[in-house]
């Protein structure tokens, strides 16, 4: 099953006009978000924008000064803690405690019984092939191994909403891929994932929806597709051989530079209401085209553009 973002979905999480004030500064100012159920939701923003403050409010670690948070339509309640899994950015484990004992403890804090926890952990330990770690103390594990354990601790109680703050930091590419696959599988099994990161390539790859927070305000949100649509520049890139000569006034060559083998690469902007076909026709008449395509803004571009405003 693949996710179809155009299909109308009920939000699993809504924040309404959240304000959080600390002594000197306002960490969140009127932030309203809606996270569709079953999506992977990217919560983006530069350092210190207020992402962690928002995540802590959702996890009931702190409360908002005003505004409300709804989980599946209900105002946040202490019992909701069990339905959320949270992997903080600043994360660690008890160093002297054995891995198995520690996970059982954390699962019980999330409301699982010891037996339930044991069953769930067995599945995860088999899946990650880490059974021999059960009796090891955490300090005997490498950092990457500890990250895996932390990931298991986050998801073992099968939460409906999983919040991952910079989940890939500290992972090597192989383990990062493993976690990426797990995230997708969790989503496909019905969980919703909120995913806070600076790494735009993983946003590009995983997220269905994003929200961008900058200096305590939400400045952008929506489906990734819609946002890309919103940010597209109507420019097309073309690789060609020959000389285009004087282009019609509607088509503006914004960038042109020689590529290899005597080819030239150019970016051409067209008016929003113009037809791409017209551009292609003009080009075909004049030069030998090797490749042609639309310049779709990357998340990185959008991030820089939106935050830099």
């Amino acid at each position: 099953m693949t996710f179809n973002p155009t299909f109308p979905v009920t939000p699993i999480l809504e924040t309404r006009n959240i304000v959080k004030q600390y002594a000197q500064h306002r960490a969140l100012d009127d932030v309203s978000l809606s996270v569709p159920k079953g999506s992977i939701f990217g919560l983006l923003g530069p350092n210190g924008a207020g992402k962690t403050s928002l995540i802590r409010i959702i996890n009931q670690i702190t409360g908002p000064d005003s505004g409300e948070v709804l989980l599946a339509g209900q105002p946040l309640h202490p019992s909701h803690i069990q339905r959320i899994g949270y992997l903080p950015e600043e994360r660690g484990l008890y160093k002297k405690m054995k891995v198995g004992e520690q996970l059982l403890y954390l699962a019980q804090l999330k409301g699982l019984t010891e037996r339930q926890a044991m069953e769930k952990l067995k599945i995860w330990f088999t899946k990650f092939d880490i059974k021999p770690w059960w009796e090891k103390t955490v300090e005997d594990l490498s950092k990457g191994m500890q990250q895996k354990i932390q990931f298991v601790a986050t998801v073992m109680h099968e939460p409906e909403l999983i919040i991952l703050d910079e989940p890939f930091s500290g992972f090597d590419p192989i383990n990062a891929n493993l976690i990426k696959d797990e995230i997708l599988e969790l989503r496909n099994n019905g969980s919703t994932i909120i995913f806070s990161t600076h790494r735009m390539e993983s946003v590009e790859e995983l997220c269905d929806y994003i929200a961008l927070i900058d200096r305590s305000h939400k400045i952008l949100d929506g489906s990734k597709k819609a946002i890309k649509e919103q940010f597209k520049t109507h420019t097309y890139h073309v690789d060609y051989q020959g000389d285009v000569g004087e282009m019609p006034a509607a088509f503006e060559v914004v960038n042109s530079q020689p590529a290899d083998d005597g080819f030239t690469r150019a970016d051409i902007r067209i008016p929003p209401d113009a037809s791409v076909n017209d551009l292609v026709r003009v080009l075909l008449d004049r030069v030998a085209v090797r490749s042609f395509g639309e310049n779709i803004p990357s998340m990185n571009d959008i991030f820089i553009k939106a935050v830099g405003k």
Partner: protein
């Protein structure tokens, strides 16, 4: 509540399973028993009797030397020169020569030995000779020794006090000791286990596990679970110490075969004082005096026993329980707040001061309170929750009106609730703060942050 118990269980088990806990728990009673039993053991094992040959040219001291555990005397009629010549083969350890003119020249007493003569042996012999000379001189002067002894007044015997309830043995000696003991136990427990709470909080912070935990539980639950868990560790350790010390002492004394070990110890102590002079005991003690001392020590022992019997043990132990737990809870909440406020152990010192000052103050005040258990200082400091666990425990063995105890306990509970409230608020904010070390002003602001 279920969550607090879960946390408590982890805090308790992690600490109890630690090697250092097990080692400390076992080693301390072993050391305590050793300190108590080693001197007794050594004293009872010391059967190394020295043989002393006496040559008495003055013919006055034949019956003066009585064989003891340490010294076996035998008077021989030999010329001193021959005895000296044969000494090495004779099997004697010490040779004593009393010249004929000993009465006129007491310094002419001579001791010969192969190795150096121990001070104990020397003074034992000196004492015997000295006393006999004294006796003979008294007889010569016509004074009866008994008359002389009756003139010696024992000033130290007048330590009886008259209490309100008539002529009851005063328990002030025992009360002082008990008061100190209780105060010290509370003082050290607070420091020992309060610091453990602080380190535990700090560990969670530096491990960065705290945010994972408080996404599942309320910060207050985490703090409460930790304080209670460590407190239970403390109680467990104390209980094990007491049981093991009693068990070990009993077992060891049984092994040594002395059912009257304590008695022997007392006697031994008395004997030690006559035979082995310490640095301060250079003037010899006469056997009569030693006997008197022994008697007075035995008297002391029964006195202490009686005094201990007159104390209200039920009240004492209830009070100890309340102040022990109350004091620990009050201070460990503060220790937890300090642990939450800082990032690493080196920054702890700054915030420890406000915690340690009232504790140390309480301990200092205790010294005055022992002297004046009903004075205004004693009263007020046994009401202030920060000092009452120590100061009140010093007062209780002397007898304190129930209403004072009740008021002090109510204040302590109130104080604990107030302190825990403040500590919980500092804790709640502090555990998620990394980086800069906060100032007191910032801590004060944390207290009023909205949750």
């Amino acid at each position: 509540m279920k969550t607090i118990i879960l946390i408590l269980k982890r805090e308790y088990l992690v600490r109890v399973k630690k090697k250092s806990f097990i080692v400390m728990t076992i080693l301390t009673p072993v050391l305590m028993s050793a300190i108590w039993l080693l001197p007794v053991y050594l004293a009872t094992k010391n059967t190394d009797q020295k043989k002393v040959q006496v040559i008495d040219d003055s013919d006055r001291f034949g019956k003066v030397f009585k064989t003891t555990d340490e010294l076996a005397f035998s008077v021989t009629n030999q010329l001193i020169e021959t005895a000296k010549k044969n000494f090495q083969k004779s099997g004697y350890d010490v040779l004593v020569y009393i010249p004929a003119n000993i009465m006129d020249d007491p310094k002419s007493l001579k001791l010969y030995a192969e190795k150096n003569v121990s001070l104990g042996v020397e003074s034992g012999i000196e004492d015997a000779v000295e006393q006999e000379i004294e006796n003979q001189k008294l007889i010569a002067a016509g004074i009866d020794r008994k008359v002389l002894e009756s003139t010696k007044v024992k000033v130290s015997a007048s330590t009886y006090n008259l209490s309100d309830e008539g002529e009851k043995d005063s328990s002030s000696g025992a009360a002082t000791i008990l008061g100190y003991f209780f105060a010290a136990a509370i003082y050290f427990t607070i420091f020992l286990y309060g610091a453990q709470v602080m380190r535990g909080v700090l560990e969670e912070k530096t491990n960065r596990i705290v945010e994972i935990i408080i996404s599942s539980v309320k910060p207050f639950q985490l703090m409460a679970g930790k304080i209670l868990g460590v407190g239970l560790v403390g109680l467990t350790q104390f209980l094990l110490w007491i049981l093991l010390t009693i068990g070990l002492s009993t077992a060891l004394s049984a092994v040594m075969g002395g059912e009257n070990l304590a008695q022997k110890r007392m006697e031994q102590a008395a004997v030690d004082r006559t035979v082995t002079p310490g640095a301060s005991n250079m003037t010899p003690v006469s056997p009569a005096e030693a006997k008197a001392k022994k008697a007075s020590q035995a008297d002391m022992l029964t006195k202490v026993k009686n005094a201990v019997g007159t104390l209200d043990w039920t009240l004492l132990l209830i009070c100890f329980g309340i102040y022990f737990v109350g004091g620990y809870l009050l201070y460990s909440a503060l220790f937890a707040a300090v642990g939450a406020a800082v990032d690493n152990e080196t920054d702890v010192q700054q915030f420890m001061l406000p915690i340690t000052i009232p504790l140390i103050l309480g301990f200092i005040i205790a010294q005055f309170v022992v002297r004046e258990p009903d004075g205004p200082i004693a009263f007020w400091f046994s009401m202030i929750p920060f000092t009452s666990p120590i100061v009140m425990m010093v007062r209780v063995p002397f007898g304190v009106p129930i209403w004072e105890i009740a008021l002090s306990v109510v204040l302590l509970i109130g104080g604990f609730i107030g302190v825990a409230w403040i500590a919980a608020r500092i804790y709640r904010v502090g555990i998620l703060m990394y980086g800069k070390k906060p100032s007191y002003a910032e801590l004060a602001k944390w207290i009023f942050y909205k949750a």
